[in-house]
Point group: C2
Chain length 104, copies 2
């Protein structure tokens, strides 16, 4: 039913930016966001464009972790903490985190 | 950057049900939801448990389409239309659709 095997977690965040669409600031933020995919423990990292007319988010990222310890290590990783403090809090207008595990 | 190749679409829906957690009604709805994965054109179907403490959704489904025509065919497929009319509208308390395409 899922490619997520038991114990694994898929972490997703949908977001909009304060920047003008297509701007250099937007590109720079997305590049910094994409760099999070290099943090140890991050698997299947994807930076995506949100296209549903039924919500206002414009981008998304998706990543998987082998277990909650890997997820926690990512959250606490200095590169992630710095990104949240230095970029996310100033440049993200709205966001929603949605995390999935296998159903059973 | 993404497993989604250009032109492909990942359609996701996060949702909560009116049913008691663990109830027979919940199981029955989820089984009907899972059956949508058999509709022609639906790829990489997943039925998932939403686990983030930062939102109130309890389940999710994710599927991919080769292109917008396949997505539209799914939306208009009699099995999908019947599911929305007969089950979704009565048994889903809240939901959010988020659709992704490759960023570039």
């Amino acid at each position: 039913m899922s490619t997520l095997t038991p114990g694994r977690i898929r972490h997703t965040v949908s977001f909009t930016l304060v920047h003008e669409p297509g701007s250099e600031q937007e590109r720079d933020f997305l590049a910094a966001q994409a760099a999070l995919g290099a943090i140890p423990g991050v698997e299947a990292y994807e930076l995506l464009r949100e296209v549903s007319p039924k919500n206002d988010f414009r981008f998304g990222c998706s990543m998987e972790f082998a277990d909650t310890a890997a997820y926690q290590a990512y959250n606490e990783h200095p590169d992630h903490v710095a990104f949240v403090n230095d970029r996310w809090q100033a440049e993200v207008q709205d966001f929603l985190e949605i995390d999935y595990e296998p159903l059973d």
